[in-house]
Symmetry: C2
Subunit: 144 residues, 2 copies
């Protein structure tokens, strides 16, 4: 198989694996009334603490408009709040509310369990290799 065919094959397999895995994960998130983007933001704040909206977008690869859209929804649901930055008044932080923290305390463990089950076809070493390869491929593609 040529290098080109190998690349096309990888593209197809990546697309399908992502679709199947994401589909299952999203069903899990929806049971808690959250979209994938909503869950990503909550999870990010849960693990990294409050963060400027722009950095949220950079991290989960969503446009500024998209961040506003999703953060609006999460604020309406009471899971996070916007906090303005006193030093630079252009900046707004997103920060989990108590309700947001409580939600993630409740749902994150089962989410993690679900993801672990979805990935359980791979051994520890295989996961480490996959992480390495996907990270390398993703970083490189970003510059194209």
């Amino acid at each position: 198989m040529s290098e080109r065919d190998l690349s096309l094959k990888l593209f197809v397999v990546l697309t399908k694996a992502h679709k199947v895995i994401m589909d299952r994960a999203v069903k899990d998130m929806k049971r808690n009334g959250l979209s994938a983007a909503e869950f990503s933001i909550l999870e990010l704040l849960y693990h990294k603490g409050k963060m400027p909206l722009q950095r949220v977008g950079d991290t989960i690869l969503v446009s500024s408009g998209g961040v506003t859209y999703t953060v609006d929804k999460l604020e309406e649901k009471g899971y996070l709040c916007r906090v303005s930055c006193p030093e630079d008044r252009r900046i707004t932080y997103a920060e989990l509310t108590e309700a947001g923290k409580a939600l993630l305390d409740r749902i994150f463990p089962s989410h993690a369990k679900k993801i672990e089950a979805l990935m359980s076809a791979l051994t520890t070493e295989e996961k480490q290799i996959a992480i390495l390869l996907l990270k390398k491929a993703g970083l490189h593609a970003k510059e194209h």
Copy 2:
């Protein structure tokens, strides 16, 4: 890092790599006036020949309603046509038209080149490994 954290990490890296790579590939398809789903179907028929609509959906992981929607668009654009099966009149084939074949003759090489460039961070062996791991993970997740 625990097995669970490793799985979560893999999920995040898979999501991001897919988003970046797909985003670039889609831009390329859009330059030819095609969505990702439209391109997938044309590419499938280009390489595998005419195929029942249901098999199209099974292959690219799209619902029957989604196949109808996308095949309608491709038929409007003149790139494929529906052909009914005489042996089993429930079945409809999708088949490329001459215009569809001509389009893919024209755009497929540069598409393949683009995908190869996007994947060029990985060596031949790394691509083979990534294909294996993603296929294994995807197949397993399908059963959950």
